[in-house]
Amino acid sequence: MTELISLKSMPDNLKIILLKELGYNSDGIFVLDKNGDKCLDRYTDEPIKISNMAILPGSTIILDNNPLSISSFLEEFGDVI
């Protein structure tokens, strides 16, 4: 069973370190990809903020932490989390 780690209490500087460890980055507000472009939520096409992100296992998928994106992820990948 995959454990869920809440990012609510993680300071932003550590969120950025976390993203860098996973091959991403941040400008302090948005999640950026390796080219420095804003990462878009794969289901809503909206830029993902580090203040409301979900980092899900598999191919390291970063989403906006909203019900539509999360349900879409579960529909696409099954109950992997």
């Binding site: 454990e3 780690i5 460890e21 579960l74």
Partner: protein, 224 residues
Amino acid sequence: MSSKDPVESASKGVTEAILEWSEEKVKQLVRKFRDRKIAFVHDPETIEIAKEQRQTSEWELFQMYVEDQRLHILFQMGLTLRQLEKKEKERNDLRLRIIKKYGTEGLHIAQFIQNGFFPKYLGNLLVRTRKPDELKSEITDFFKNIEVTNSYIQKTDNVEKEAAAIVARVQSHSPRTYIISGSRSATNKCKQVKNIVMRRITGYTEELYRTEIKEVYFLNKVEK
């Protein structure tokens, strides 16, 4: 008592670590993430709610009959809207997201589910449909055409105008089932609309499902 060490907390299944975040702890968590043992989320409740919806009887029934992935997600959104009934801001945010992604038609499908109409619709259809394959296509078609098979009456609606629109839809599309529903202060208006429609169309019978706050009229096409 929960641990304050995020890594230890994760290994114990605690979802929210509170203190003692550090660069080293983050790196330890990344190793666990790469082993697929953990996921990072801003709000674990969002995932818990999404997972809960996938364990409901309604969902089990729905996915037995409908294979369309878009409808699956909208069904889940309907269940989530229902769960968020007392959280107005979250509910409105989700409604806007649904409209942005799936349009007002998508929202109407989600609201149909939110209102608990699917089990009643399925029950209504089961007694009229003998073949399982026919049932599947009937349900899928119903949702794909929800704008011409379903009307949710609101208290601000004009009775005559709504009734005329429904009559036009029934006459041009001849759906096997047309649903007219309303809740709370709109139930009386809902009944008025239904009465006008039934006077103006032929070949349909009506069936009423009523709860304390909702009325749902199924207009069933008479089978020949």
